[in-house]
Chain length 362, copies 2
DNA sequence: CAGCATGACTGAAGCGCTTCAGTCCCGCCA
DNA sequence: TGGCGGGACTGAAGCGCTTCAGTCATGCTG
């Protein structure tokens, strides 16, 4: 195989092949797209000629123009790729999405976000996709306006409902409630909360009161809200609960935040973590500080990524069906593409996976 | 914003706007693409009218057809997304690529692989991209033929050279040599090797002699070769070195493999791991078995992902410039797109990052 | 043998845009 | 006042394909 683009300008087209075989262009097109429209002998002859001419099949762009469908779904992320993929939760969701979409011969256009918390509108405006999937964008992402301007159907994952969009969502608030309640039942009274981004500005640090209110990301809002509301109902004042906001969701950021939380006075006996990655970091931080989990401190994660079952100790965490989330999103996208109306939001269940990173307060 | 596709069939076009403003279609096009071609007052008027008509700018597909360029680069992966992204090394490379490409207003089309070790040829044939990047595909991936058939320029990362393609590569063999030599210098004499896939068939297990020879992935071939050749030169028979092949590159698979390696008799005093993720798993396996790293066993990784500096203990590993790799690939892709000839392969350096997971043999 | 359904193939009209050679007009200079 | 340069805008030819209404034999039915 030769990868030269020497004469990229003079590639054979349908007409070239048609002329060579001595049939009309429509027939060559049919040879590729509707085999039933011509005799199989002619079809063979056409395909054969095409091959010898170095014609690789109908040009995807021209085909898209003619059919008014690009057979691609766009995926919009809140951040750059390296940050986004540092949490396996996204990979799992995206994998679910990709396999669904791929099975229908659609491709996936990735649109990484930047500092605004989503892809640049110009990127969205020019993306060759006929349906968009937004993954956990902040409420006000300009990218969403760009999608609306183009009139493209939209599927949102982990985001507030937008008029006319399809949505798959997880009961984050409920999940957070489960985690907090469980720790309360174990007798814990002093807590620390380890969050990922509350706002799309890349800030890490203790979360001030302002930052805690009017949180930009729906997922963060629900998880943090679920934690604090539950604690408050049990008599733990939210103001007394230290919250660390990490600017992403990976181990190292989690370790950093947990170190801060675990060196507060009084030291929390339980840590609520917004993701498993952050929780893994917390496990590490505890170890760094010479603390034993769960004896000295209990840790609860969120997501139940596969690794949670194998960490040291295995992580108690809120389970959500990640792959299913991606698959559903894919199906919704395909459905919208086919002209379907957005169905009522799919709501996926959460549950608590109890493992060994939690114990009664000693 | 409303995300209804009600009248997706009757969207305004350039002509609609042109008619509304009372100018020619060419002028409207210029308003978007060549502001210098018309008076700014007219341009304003056009843009204003477009807005009020709900016209979101030139249709990307039609534009691509007219300009014969889709402004997108395709990225082909050897496996599904969840597997692929379980190793942060890929995320970092892809992030480097994406930011380069994105900076030039190109988008990224992701093509996940399947059991054949690459995307299905039909996907490649229909992808709307005008340059492809292949990431660590097996030597014989059908996807590569599909790219050649379309005559698209190709950039390969971590793969053998293909005629006419541009390439960015890392001195994997040399890196492996560095790792093995270092352990030899520390006095180690019994080794275990923890590899990721040697062949694209999803097999995990001890690597038989056949599987070790004629390895399908260039990276695996070079790293394994570098390890074994170096050991052999020092008098360690390759046949006596247990090699575990994991079917992917994540912690859990690493842990599994390392458990096997560390329970051989005699127990290796040093583990050579083909990636940091596998090495992290090995650290965990050692811990599981009550072994202390590096006292009881030394572990060396490969890649130097950011986390390697923070693991417990911090990992000795072969450093390769991951982000740079992605950036270079992006630049090459853009260059080919601009009609450049494939330059001579870029060869990125490796070095050994010595940290605390290695120690002299006791 | 007329009539007609059927299969095989074609002509031509788009799909929505870019681009380039013009056309036209205005103001300026000699 | 005539000539001319240049800015502003336009006409029309594609880009490579899909699709649909036909056309035209062919063979079958009654």
């Amino acid at each position: 195989m030769l990868f030269v683009d020497s004469d990229r300008r003079r590639r054979p087209t349908l007409d070239t092949v048609a002329a060579a075989v001595g049939v009309s262009r429509a027939t060559v097109s049919n040879a590729y797209n509707r085999p039933d429209q011509l005799s199989s002998s002619l079809r063979e002859r056409i395909l054969e000629t095409a091959r010898s001419l170095g014609y690789a099949g109908p040009d995807p762009v021209a085909r898209s123009l003619a059919t008014r469908s690009s057979a691609a779904v766009g995926f919009m992320l809140p951040q750059g790729l390296s940050g986004a993929f540092s949490d396996p939760a996204l990979s799992i969701v995206l994998d679910g999405l990709a396999s669904t979409v791929d099975g229908h011969d659609h491709s996936l256009v990735l649109m990484p976000g930047d500092a605004t918390g989503g892809p640049r509108p110009s990127i969205v405006a020019r993306a060759q996709a006929d349906v968009m999937v937004a993954y956990s964008l902040p409420d006000s992402a300009p990218a969403l306006d760009a999608v609306a301007a183009r009139g493209l159907p939209l599927v949102v994952i982990d985001q507030p409902v937008l008029p006319g969009s399809a949505r798959v969502e997880v009961q984050d608030y409920l999940g957070a409630t489960l985690a907090a309640s469980f720790l309360l039942e174990l007798g814990h009274t002093s807590f620390g909360v380890l969050m990922f981004s509350l706002h799309p500005d890349g800030v890490s640090g203790p979360a001030s009161v302002e930052r805690r209110s009017a949180v930009s990301f729906r997922v963060s809002r629900d998880r943090l809200g679920g934690y604090l509301d539950t604690l408050e109902k049990a008599g733990v004042k939210p103001d007394n609960v230290p919250v660390w906001e990490a600017r992403g969701s990976d181990r190292e950021l989690g370790r950093l935040g947990a170190r801060w939380l675990l060196t507060r006075t009084p030291r929390p006996s339980a840590l609520l973590c917004a993701s498993d990655q952050l929780a893994f970091g917390a496990l590490q931080a505890a170890r760094d500080l010479g603390l034993t989990v769960p004896r000295d401190v209990s840790v609860v994660g969120f997501d139940d990524v596969p690794e949670a079952a194998y960490s040291d100790p295995p992580l108690t965490t809120v389970r959500q069906p990640l792959a299913e989330k991606g698959r559903r999103a894919g199906e919704l996208a395909l459905k919208l593409l086919a002209g379907g109306r957005p169905p009522r939001p799919t709501r996926l269940d959460v549950s608590l996976a109890q493992r060994d990173s939690t114990a009664p307060r000693t």
